[in-house]
C-alpha cells in the first residue's frame, strides 16, 4: 500500500512536527509513506471565498501530484473535504477528481476506516484532552467517532466540552474579513473550555486560531494537532 502524505500548507508551516508524527506512525503501522514534494495548497481558501478561477489551477496541480498514490492521507478535515466534496464540483468533467476524492482520507479516518486500527498504544494514559470537532471533518466528512475512539483507546480522558462541536470561528478568510465576529466565536469556545492538559483537533486552521486567541487572553493550555497525540499514543 502506497500512501502519499499531503501535509497541507498550514500544517507544513505551523505544525511541522505533526507531519513527522504522522509519517512515523504510518510507518510503524506497516504503511509505505511517500511525500510528493511538489505539493503546496489544495486551493481551499480561494474556493471558499468564491475565487474559483484562482482555486482551479491549484486543484488541477493537486490531481497531478497525487495521481500515483493508492491513498492520500492528510491531517486536516477541511482540506480533505475540499478534495472529497468540492473538487468534483470545481473540476466538472475531470473523472480524476472523482477518483482522487475516493482515495483521499483525513488522518484519523484513514487509521480507523482503512487500516482498521482502534488501539495504537497506551501512551496517553490519564491525559486530560479537550477535542475540538473541526466543522468540515464533523459535518462534511462525518468524522466524529474516529478521533475520539483512538484517543480514548490510548488511555486519554476526554473531557466533556459543551461547545466541542461548535465552530471555532476560523473559517479561513472569514477570520480576516470579519475579525470581530471570528474572535467572539473563539471566545465562546474558550469560555466553555473545561479543565484539560491539551486541546486538540484534526484541523491546523482551527488550532492556529484557537492557540493564538488563548495566548492573547493569557490562557495557559497546550495545543497539539491530533497526529502528534496519536504518535504519542503509540510511542508512549
Amino acid at each position: 500500500m502506497r500512501v502519499a502524505l499531503f501535509i497541507t500548507c498550514l500544517a507544513d508551516q505551523f505544525f511541522a512536527e505533526a507531519g513527522v508524527a504522522a509519517v512515523r506512525l504510518l510507518r510503524a503501522l506497516g504503511v509505505e509513506v511517500d511525500f510528493p514534494e511538489g505539493q503546496t495548497c489544495c486551493g481551499q481558501p480561494a474556493f471558499n471565498a468564491g475565487h474559483w478561477e484562482e482555486a482551479r489551477p491549484l486543484a488541477k496541480r493537486h490531481l497531478e501530484i497525487f495521481r500515483e498514490a493508492d491513498y492520500v492521507v492528510l491531517p486536516s478535515g477541511s482540506c480533505a473535504s475540499m478534495v472529497q466534496n468540492h473538487y468534483p464540483e470545481l473540476l466538472p468533467g475531470h473523472p480524476e477528481a472523482l477518483d482522487l476524492a475516493e482515495r483521499t482520507y483525513e488522518f484519523s479516518a484513514f487509521l480507523v476506516r482503512v487500516l482498521g486500527v482502534e488501539k495504537l498504544g497506551e501512551g496517553l494514559r490519564g491525559k486530560k484532552i479537550a477535542y475540538h470537532h473541526g466543522c468540515h471533518a464533523l459535518r462534511e466528512l462525518g468524522v466524529r467517532e474516529e478521533p475520539l475512539l483512538l484517543l480514548r483507546e490510548a488511555g486519554a480522558e476526554l473531557v466533556p466540552w459543551e461547545a466541542a462541536e461548535e465552530c471555532c470561528g476560523f473559517g479561513g478568510l472569514f477570520s480576516v474579513k470579519l475579525p470581530e465576529v471570528s474572535l467572539a466565536m473563539a471566545d465562546r469556545k474558550i469560555a466553555t473550555l473545561p479543565q484539560a492538559e491539551v486541546l486538540t483537533s484534526t484541523d491546523a486552521g482551527c488550532l492556529l486560531h484557537l492557540a493564538g486567541r488563548l495566548a492573547k487572553k493569557g490562557v495557559n493550555l497546550k495545543v497539539a494537532p491530533l497526529a502528534t497525540l496519536l504518535w504519542e499514543a503509540y510511542a508512549g
Binding site: 501535509i7 500548507c9 500544517a11 507544513d12 508551516q13 505551523f14 505544525f15 511541522a16 512536527e17 507531519g19 513527522v20 509519517v23 511525500f35 514534494e37 505539493q39 503546496t40 495548497c41 486551493g43 481558501p45 480561494a46 474556493f47 471558499n48 471565498a49 468564491g50 475565487h51 474559483w52 478561477e53 484562482e54 482555486a55 489551477p57 491549484l58 466543522c135 468540515h136 464533523l138 459535518r139 462534511e140 461548535e166 465552530c167 470561528g169 473559517g171 479561513g172 478568510l173 472569514f174 477570520s175 474579513k177 470579519l178 475579525p179 470581530e180 465576529v181 471570528s182 474572535l183 467572539a184 466565536m185 473563539a186 465562546r188 486560531h209 493564538g212 486567541r213 495566548a215 492573547k216
Partner: protein, 464 residues
C-alpha cells in the same frame, strides 16, 4: 424595509463592541431553542420527515403555477377576495383601498416577516392608521422602533432589564416588574386594540391549494384574535408558502414547530376558511394577497431556487454560531442569519446584499438544522462565486488571492514564502491580512522548520 445589508461587517463589529449584552441574550436564547430542537427531532424519524417535506416542497415549487391557480379558485369559492402583488407598491395599493373603503383608523397585526418586507407598518402610518403589533416580542420592538432581530423571536436581543426599563418609561411600571406583570400591561393595551380595530393583518405559515385554507401557527393567541375580531382580515402570503393538500399540514405543522421551538405543535393553530358565514362569528371580509416580490425570479434561478423551500422556522439562526454573536440587526434586512445570507441576495440583489454570503464560516450547522434540507453552505458558495465573478470583492482580497495562487502554483515560490515567514520580509500584499489576524491572536509562530524541510532531513539524514 430598506436594506442596509452592505453595512454588515461594520455593524457586526460595532454591535460586538458597543452592545455586548446582545451577544449574551442571543446566545442564551438560541442555545435554548437549539437544545429543544434537538430533543424534539430525536423523538421522531426526523430524517424521513425532512426528506418528505423537502420532496413535497420541491413538487409544489416545480408546479407552482398550477397550485397557485387552484388556490385562487378555492379561496374565491370560500368567499375570500384574492389579490396578486408583484411588488410592494401593488400590496400598498390594495391595502390603501381597504383602509379607505372601511374608514380604518386602527389595525392589529399578527407577526409576519413578509409584511416587514413590504413595509406595511410605515404605509399604514402614512395613511393615518394606528397599528398595533400583537405578538409580544413584536410589540416590544415596535415600541422601540426596531426591526425584528430573529424570524421567530423578534425581540431575542433584549434582556429583561431593557424591557423593564422600556415599560417603566412607557407605562410607569416599576423597574423591577416581573415578566408576568409586564405581560399583563401589554395584554391590557392590546386587548383594547383588538376590540377597537377595524382591520386585522396577518401573514400565513401555509396556504393549502386543495382547500384554500390559510394555516397560522403561534403560541400566544394573538394571531387568532387579530384574524377573527376585526371585521376585515387581510393576509399577506408569499407565493412559496403553498402546500398541495390539506393532509400535508399533518407533516408541516409539527415539523415546523419542532424545528422552530422544539414543540410538538404550536399552542395555537388557526385554519382559516374564509369570512364568517350566516350565524358564525368572525370577519365579514377576508382578503388574501399573494405576494411575489422577487420570488418568481428566484424560482427561475437554477442555482438558488432551493431557498424558496424555507418555512421561516428560524432553526438555522438558532444553530448558527455567527448569528449568535450579533443577532439579526447587523444583517440589515428582514431575513438574517444563514437563511438571510442566501435569501437576501436573491430577493434584493447580490450587489445590495454582497457581504451577507460571507457572514458564515461554512460550518454547516444550518444545514443540519433545516427541516427542509436547504443546502445553505452550498448556496453560500454559489453566491460568493457569483460575487467574485461580478467583481464585487474588494481590491485587497483580489490581490491577496491572486498572490496566493502565484505562490501555491510554484513549489519554488512556496519555499521562498516559507523562508519569508521565518524571517525574511513578507510581501506587501499580505501585510494587511496578517495584521487583521495578529491583532486578536498575537504573532504568528511558525514551526522552526517547515515539514517539507523536516521530510528531507528524515529521508536524507546527512542533509544536503
Amino acid at each position: 424595509m430598506r436594506a442596509k445589508a452592505k453595512l454588515y461587517p461594520k455593524e457586526a463589529a460595532r454591535l460586538l463592541r458597543e452592545k455586548p449584552g446582545v451577544r449574551e441574550a442571543v446566545t442564551g436564547a438560541t442555545l435554548h431553542f437549539e437544545r429543544n430542537r434537538l430533543r424534539a427531532y430525536a423523538e421522531v424519524p426526523i430524517a424521513e420527515w425532512r426528506e418528505r417535506a423537502k420532496a413535497l416542497k420541491d413538487h409544489v415549487l416545480s408546479h407552482l403555477d398550477h397550485y397557485l391557480e387552484l388556490a385562487e379558485k378555492r379561496l374565491r369559492e370560500n368567499g375570500v377576495q384574492v389579490h396578486w402583488a408583484e411588488t410592494p407598491e401593488d400590496a400598498h395599493r390594495l391595502l390603501r383601498a381597504v383602509v379607505e373603503r372601511h374608514g380604518v383608523k386602527r389595525a392589529v397585526k399578527a407577526k409576519s416577516m413578509l409584511t416587514e418586507e413590504l413595509g406595511v407598518n410605515p404605509l399604514l402610518a402614512s395613511l393615518g392608521v394606528e397599528v398595533f403589533e400583537t405578538d409580544l416580542g413584536e410589540y416590544l420592538i415596535q415600541l422601540l422602533g426596531e426591526p425584528p432581530s430573529h424570524i421567530v423571536g423578534p425581540a431575542i436581543h433584549l434582556s429583561l432589564k431593557e424591557i423593564q426599563k422600556l415599560f417603566h418609561e412607557r407605562f410607569g411600571t416599576p423597574l423591577d416588574a416581573s415578566p408576568e406583570a409586564l405581560a399583563q400591561v401589554a395584554r391590557k393595551v392590546l386587548r383594547e386594540a383588538f376590540l377597537s380595530a377595524e382591520l386585522g393583518i396577518s401573514g400565513a405559515n401555509f396556504l393549502v391549494a386543495e382547500t384554500g385554507t390559510l394555516a397560522l401557527m403561534e403560541n400566544e393567541g394573538n394571531i387568532r384574535l387579530s384574524t377573527s375580531l376585526p371585521k376585515v382580515h387581510v393576509a399577506f402570503v408569499g407565493i412559496e408558502k403553498l402546500l398541495p393538500r390539506f393532509q400535508d399540514l399533518a407533516l408541516f405543522l409539527p415539523l415546523t414547530a419542532r424545528a422552530a421551538t422544539g414543540q410538538r405543535l404550536s399552542t395555537f393553530v388557526s385554519l382559516i376558511q374564509g369570512p364568517a358565514r350566516e350565524g358564525e362569528e368572525g370577519p365579514e371580509e377576508v382578503h388574501v394577497v399573494l405576494v411575489d416580490h422577487g420570488r418568481t425570479a428566484l424560482l427561475a434561478d437554477p442555482e438558488a431556487w432551493e431557498t424558496l423551500r424555507c418555512l421561516r422556522c428560524g432553526a438555522c439562526l438558532n444553530a448558527c454560531p455567527v448569528y449568535r454573536q450579533t443577532g439579526g440587526h447587523p444583517y440589515g434586512y428582514v431575513y438574517s442569519g444563514p437563511i438571510g445570507a442566501v435569501l437576501d441576495p436573491g430577493l434584493l440583489s447580490l450587489e445590495e446584499a454582497y457581504p451577507l454570503p460571507y457572514a458564515s464560516t461554512l460550518c454547516g450547522a444550518c444545514l443540519e438544522a433545516c427541516p427542509v434540507k436547504i443546502p445553505i453552505p452550498k448556496l453560500l458558495l454559489t453566491w460568493r462565486h457569483r460575487a467574485v465573478a461580478e467583481g464585487l470583492s474588494p481590491a485587497w482580497e483580489k490581490a491577496a488571492l491572486a498572490a496566493y495562487r502565484r505562490v501555491m502554483e510554484s513549489p519554488t515560490l512556496y519555499r521562498l514564502f516559507s523562508k519569508a515567514l521565518r524571517g525574511l520580509p513578507l510581501p506587501q500584499d499580505l501585510l494587511p491580512l496578517l495584521r487583521a489576524w495578529t491583532e486578536g491572536r498575537g504573532p504568528l509562530k511558525p514551526s522552526p522548520k517547515p515539514f517539507h524541510q523536516l521530510w528531507r532531513e528524515m529521508e536524507e539524514p546527512h542533509g544536503r
